[in-house]
C-alpha cells in the first residue's frame, strides 16, 4: 500500500494525511468526534486512522458537541493534543460556550500556566447542495473571540501544511475546512514531504496592479477565476489568500493594497458583521491615502444560508466580483 501514491491528492486526502502524520509523529495527538472512527468521518477525512492508531487515538464520541469540545479541553489540560471534528459548521454551535468561555481563555485565565493545544476542525461554507444547517460560514463568531487562532486553507498543499501547524500549535486553532474544496486537487504530492506552513502568513496567489482581491478558503478559486475574467476588461487583479484570519497578516495585505490602490474583500460569510467589515476597516486604517476608492465587499447576503436550489444566487460569483471591481471608481483615475 505504500508503493503507489495517488497523485494528485484531494484536499480531503491531504487533511487525512496531515492527521496521520501528526499522530505518527506525536503520541499525544488524539482525534475525536462524531463518526470519525469506524466510518472515517462523513467526508472521509479521518479514514483509516482508527485502524492504524486504535480507538483510543481516533475515537467515535457520543453525539454531543459541547461534550466533545469540553472533554477535549480536559484532555489538553493533561497534556494531550486533541484534534476535534465538528461534523458541520452549524453543529459547532452547541459547543460555543466551551469554545468562548474555556478554549479561548484558559491560557489567559491562568496567566500562561496552562495552554490548550487543541485543534477544532470545522467543515464550513456552502456550494455543496447541503440542506439547512449544512452550509454555514461561521468565521465571524470565531474571529470575534480573542484567544483563538482561525485558519483556513484554500489549496491542497495548505490543507496539509496548515493543519500540521495547527496541531503543532500550543494554542487552540479553529481550523475551517472549505467543504466545497474537499474534492479539489492541485499539484500537491502526498509522497513528498510538505512543509508545515507557519500560521499567520497571507500569500499573494496572483500578482496584479489594478486592484487587490482579498479572500480566503472557498472563495479563492472564485477570485482567481474572476481575476482571469477581469483581463478582458483590462484589469490586472492581484489576489491575496489570507489563510489565517487570526492572526491577521496586515503586512502582506497592506503592501498589496498600497501597490494597487483598490481592494475588494470576497467571502461567502454574510456581509453585515462578517469578516469583510474588519478587513475593510483595517485596510482602510492602514492604506487610507493610497486608496482610490473605498474597500468594497462581495460576500454572502445577510440572510440565513439558502436552500440548495437557491444557493447559487447567494454565493459570491465571478460576475458579482467583477461588478464590484467595476465600482472601484476607475473614472476618478482618468
Amino acid at each position: 500500500m505504500t508503493t503507489v501514491a495517488v497523485k494528485p491528492a484531494t484536499m480531503a486526502q491531504a487533511l487525512g494525511r496531515a492527521l496521520r502524520d501528526a499522530m505518527a509523529a506525536d503520541p499525544a495527538v488524539h482525534v475525536m468526534g462524531e463518526d470519525v472512527g469506524t466510518l472515517g468521518g462523513v467526508f472521509r477525512v479521518t479514514d483509516g486512522l482508527t485502524k492504524e492508531f486504535g480507538e483510543d487515538r481516533c475515537t467515535d464520541t457520543p453525539l454531543a458537541e459541547a461534550g466533545i469540545l469540553g472533554t477535549a479541553v480536559g484532555m489538553a489540560m493533561y497534556g494531550l493534543r486533541p484534534v476535534v471534528e465538528m461534523q458541520f459548521d452549524a453543529f459547532a454551535y452547541p459547543a460555543f460556550e466551551q469554545l468562548i468561555s474555556h478554549v479561548s481563555r484558559m491560557r489567559n485565565r491562568t496567566r500562561g500556566a496552562m495552554s490548550l493545544p487543541l485543534t477544532i476542525r470545522v467543515p464550513y461554507g456552502g456550494g455543496i447542495g447541503g440542506v439547512e444547517h449544512h452550509s454555514d460560514s461561521s468565521e465571524a463568531y470565531y474571529m470575534a473571540t480573542p484567544g483563538l487562532h482561525v485558519v483556513t486553507p484554500a489549496t491542497v498543499a495548505d490543507a496539509y501544511g496548515l493543519l500540521r501547524a495547527a496541531i503543532a500549535s500550543d494554542d487552540p486553532v479553529v481550523f475551517l475546512e472549505p467543504k466545497r474544496l474537499y474534492w479539489s486537487k492541485d499539484s500537491w504530492n502526498p509522497e513528498e514531504p510538505t512543509a508545515v506552513e507557519p500560521i499567520g502568513r497571507a500569500v499573494v496567489r496572483r500578482s496584479g496592479r489594478s486592484a487587490t482581491l482579498i479572500t480566503y478558503g472557498p472563495s479563492l478559486p472564485v477570485c482567481l477565476e474572476a481575476a482571469e475574467a477581469a483581463r478582458a476588461e483590462g484589469w490586472n487583479l492581484e489576489v491575496v489568500d489570507l489563510r489565517s484570519l487570526v492572526p491577521f497578516d496586515d503586512e502582506t495585505v497592506t503592501a498589496s493594497v498600497r501597490r494597487t490602490g483598490r481592494a475588494v474583500v470576497v467571502h461567502e460569510s454574510g456581509t453585515f458583521g462578517g469578516p469583510g467589515g474588519e478587513i475593510a476597516a483595517r485596510v482602510t486604517e492602514r492604506c487610507f491615502h493610497y486608496l482610490e476608492a473605498p474597500v468594497l465587499r462581495v460576500a454572502g447576503f445577510d440572510i440565513p444560508y439558502p436552500p440548495p436550489m437557491l444557493e447559487r444566487h447567494h454565493l459570491p460569483g465571478v460576475d458579482r466580483i467583477l461588478d464590484a471591481v467595476a465600482r472601484l471608481q476607475w473614472e476618478a483615475e482618468n
Binding site: E34, D35, G37, T38, L39, G40, V42, D60, T61, P62, L63, A64, E65, A66, G67, A90, F91, Y93, P94, G129, G130, V131, E132, H133, H134, T271, F272, F301, D302, I303, P304, P306, P307, P308, M309, L310, H313, H314, D319, R320, D323
Partner: protein, 383 residues
C-alpha cells in the same frame, strides 16, 4: 456560649430538608420492551386499529422506497430513510388528536405524512427548494429539525404555553438514540418535568447515530432509564410492534392530557437502511445484523397478527399495496416537476420588514438576474 456548653441540648437530626419528592419505582421502565404482537394480548387488539395501522405501514414503507428512489433521480438532495421504523413513525402520527402538535426530527418525514401532511411538502427540506416545505400551523407539525434534539425544548415550551392558555393540547417530540446525548435533550426533559408540561418524548432507538452504535452512545441500562432522573415515567417498547407503540404512546398522551405531566418512551427499533442515500453502512455494520432484524420487520409482524386473526387476506394485502402504489405514483409524478422558485424569497422572510441592507441586496440580485436574462436573450439561447 461555646458549642461544648450547648451540647447537652444538641441531638443530631436528619437533614431537615430531606424528603424524596416522588417514588422512583413507578418511573422505572419494564425490564424488556413491551410488546403486543406475538403475545396473547394481540388477540384483544382493536381490529379497526390493526387494519388502520397496517394500511399506514404499507404506505409508509412504499413512501420510504419512493423517496430513496427520488434521490437517485436527483429529485431530492438527500433522504434519510425510516425503513424499519415505520411502526414508530405511524403510531406517533395516529396517536395524536388534530389539536396536538408533532415535533419531528430530520428523519421523521413519514410521521408528518402519516399525520396528513402532503408528502411533497414534507419533502421540501430534502428536495432543497426551501427549508420548511410547509406552514407548521396548518397541521400542527413543527418544521423538520436537523440540529439534533434542539426541537425538544420547543415541544416543551409549546405544550407548556398551551396548558397555560387552558388548551388541552399535547406535544409529541421525536428524537433518535444519538440525540439523547445532546444537552438539549437533558434540558428539555428537565423543564418538562418541572413544569409538568403535557409532552411525550419518543426516542426511536434504531441502534445507530450514523455509524456510531448505541454502546458508544450510552452505558445506561436503557434510554428509558433516563426518565427517573427527571422525575417522569420511562417506558420501554418494541419499536417494531406498531400496536405496542401505539398503546404506550396513547397512554402517555392521555396521561399528559389529563395533567399528569411528561413521559419518556424508548422504542427499540432498527434502521434497516444506510443513514441516508449518501451513506455506506457496510463500513460500520455487518449484513448479518441487518438480516437478524428482517425477521422482526414491523409490517411482517402486523401482517402475521392480522392474518392469524383472520382480519386480513391476500386481497386485503393487495389492496393495501395498490393504495401505497397510487400514493407513490402521485408522489413521483409531483416530485418530477420542478418546484416554482423565486430567488426574491431569499430576502422576504428574514424579518417582518426587510432592512435597508436587505433591500439593497435584493435590488442587486434583481439587477443581476435581469442582466442574466438579457444576456440569454441576446445569445438567443432558451433559458
Amino acid at each position: 456560649m461555646t458549642v461544648m456548653e450547648q451540647r447537652g441540648a444538641y441531638r443530631p437530626t436528619p437533614p431537615p430538608a430531606w424528603q424524596p419528592r416522588t417514588d422512583p419505582a413507578p418511573l422505572l421502565p419494564d425490564e424488556v420492551p413491551y410488546r403486543v404482537l406475538g403475545t396473547d394480548a394481540a388477540a384483544e387488539a382493536d381490529p379497526e386499529l390493526l387494519r388502520r395501522l397496517y394500511g399506514e405501514l404499507v404506505r409508509g414503507r412504499r413512501y420510504n422506497t419512493q423517496a430513496t428512489a427520488l434521490t437517485k433521480q436527483g429529485r431530492l438532495a438527500v433522504y434519510p430513510s425510516s425503513t424499519g421504523q415505520e411502526a414508530c413513525q405511524v403510531a406517533a402520527a395516529l396517536v395524536l388528536e388534530e389539536r396536538d402538535w408533532l415535533f419531528p426530527s430530520y428523519r421523521d418525514t413519514l410521521a408528518a405524512v402519516a399525520r396528513g401532511l402532503d408528502p411533497v411538502q414534507a419533502l421540501g427540506l430534502l428536495r432543497g427548494d426551501w427549508h420548511s416545505g410547509y406552514d407548521p400551523r396548518e397541521r400542527r407539525i413543527a418544521p423538520l429539525c436537523t440540529p439534533l434534539a434542539t426541537q425538544l425544548p420547543h415541544a416543551v415550551g409549546l405544550a407548556h404555553a398551551a396548558r397555560l392558555q387552558g388548551d388541552d393540547v399535547v406535544a409529541l417530540a421525536l428524537v433518535g438514540d444519538g440525540g439523547t446525548s445532546e444537552g438539549d435533550f437533558h434540558e428539555a426533559l428537565n423543564f418538562a418535568a418541572v413544569w409538568q408540561a403535557p409532552v411525550v418524548f419518543l426516542v426511536q432507538n434504531n441502534g445507530f447515530a450514523i455509524s456510531v452504535p448505541l454502546a458508544k452512545q450510552t452505558a445506561a441500562p436503557s434510554l428509558a432509564h433516563k426518565a427517573v432522573g427527571y422525575g417522569m415515567p420511562g417506558r420501554l417498547v418494541d419499536g417494531n410492534d406498531a400496536v405496542a407503540v401505539h398503546q404506550v404512546l396513547g397512554e402517555a398522551v392521555a396521561h399528559a392530557r389529563a395533567g399528569g405531566g411528561p413521559t419518556l418512551v424508548e422504542a427499540v427499533t432498527y434502521r434497516m437502511e444506510a443513514h441516508t442515500n449518501a451513506d455506506d453502512d457496510k463500513r460500520y455494520r455487518a449484513d448479518s445484523e441487518v438480516e437478524a432484524w428482517r425477521a422482526h420487520d414491523p409490517i411482517a409482524l402486523l401482517e402475521h397478527a392480522l392474518t392469524e386473526r383472520g382480519l386480513l387476506d391476500e386481497a386485503g394485502i393487495q389492496a393495501a399495496r395498490e393504495d401505497a402504489e397510487a400514493m407513490a405514483a402521485d408522489l413521483r409524478e409531483r416530485m418530477n416537476q420542478d418546484p416554482a422558485l423565486d430567488p426574491m424569497d431569499l430576502f422576504g422572510h428574514v424579518y417582518d420588514r426587510p432592512t435597508t441592507q436587505l433591500l439593497e441586496q435584493e435590488a442587486q440580485l434583481r439587477a443581476e438576474l435581469a442582466a442574466e436574462e438579457r444576456h440569454h436573450e441576446s445569445e438567443g439561447a432558451p433559458r
